[in-house]
């Protein structure tokens, strides 16, 4: 099963072998992307599952001319951003409640990537904290470029934007990270 169009056609027919192939090919990349975005192992696992459920159920509407993996990445990024928005809103509401002493605001613990060695933990904590502070679009572009190694064209396709816009987002993301990490 090498030709992507073939795989999409099989997927659209509900072929489980094609789905298993897609899952095995992209699960690690999608899991890692989501992990960088949401910075929580459990949530990344849950969202990765959700992404593949959506891939299987909505592949009928997928345009064969587009690239499959950019579509899967787009679903993953959207789900991760939605979860983050929800978490931020919840945190804001929690802070509001804590002002009135109704409920204490929950502190989000620093994220430690499961793949990081013990001696690098401190450095990685500050790096992930800085990445988490970036605005949504900058964070997405940065994760896809620096951590997922996607090309500018691919990032533009995933984010449904132009290449100059991706370049600008990455430039600003780097500037902001340097500022946060000083």
């Amino acid at each position: 099963m090498q030709d992507e169009k073939d795989i999409i056609i099989h997927l659209q027919k509900g072929d489980e072998i094609a789905f298993k192939w897609v899952f095995d090919t992209y699960k690690d990349r999608i899991f890692n992307t989501i992990l960088y975005m949401v910075q929580s192992n459990e949530e990344a696992e849950d969202l990765t599952q959700e992404v593949f459920v959506e891939v299987f159920l909505s592949v009928e509407n997928f345009n064969v001319q587009s690239k499959l993996y950019t579509w899967i990445y787009r679903i993953a990024i959207n789900k991760a951003l939605n979860l983050q928005r929800f978490k931020k809103a919840k945190k804001r509401f929690g802070n509001l409640l804590s002002i009135f002493h109704l409920s204490p605001a929950d502190e989000i613990p620093d994220f430690v990537h499961p793949g990081i060695l013990l001696e690098n933990k401190e450095l990685s904590e500050s790096l992930y904290r800085a990445i988490d502070q970036l605005p949504e679009k900058q964070k997405t572009a940065f994760v896809l470029r620096q951590l997922e190694d996607l090309s500018y064209v691919e990032i533009a396709e995933v984010m449904q934007t132009t290449i100059p816009s991706v370049e600008s987002l990455l430039f600003r993301a780097k500037q902001n990270l340097q500022k946060y990490l000083k």
Binding site: F23, L57, H113, K174, L177
Partner: protein, 92 residues
């Protein structure tokens, strides 16, 4: 770390947890069942609405309004004639 343009960040990659595929399959089955149930509920709801609407229209079309008995009281007689004799033929 201070020059992202030239240096690549260390990519900390881990594998997705084992057994995830079976959890995904389970979720797909559950999601399909939920979608089927929603479709079924929609179909039942639409059918019920159609039946209720049909019954209501039937009642309106086939019901005959009952006229009160004529009385010898002149005031009532005038009211009766003013009201019922000016109605549309549908209500007569």
């Amino acid at each position: 770390m201070d020059n992202f343009g030239n240096k690549k960040l260390v990519q900390h990659r881990i594998n997705a947890p084992e057994g995830m595929y079976y959890q995904v399959r389970e979720r797909i089955v559950k999601e399909r069942m939920r979608m089927a149930r929603t479709r079924q509920q929609l179909a039942i709801g639409s059918a019920l609405l159609l039946i209720i609407g049909g019954v209501n229209i039937g009642i309106i079309l086939f019901s005959k309004s009952e006229k009160p008995h004529k009385t010898n009281n002149s005031t009532e007689q005038i009211l009766y004639e003013t009201y019922f004799d000016n109605q549309t033929p549908f209500l007569k």
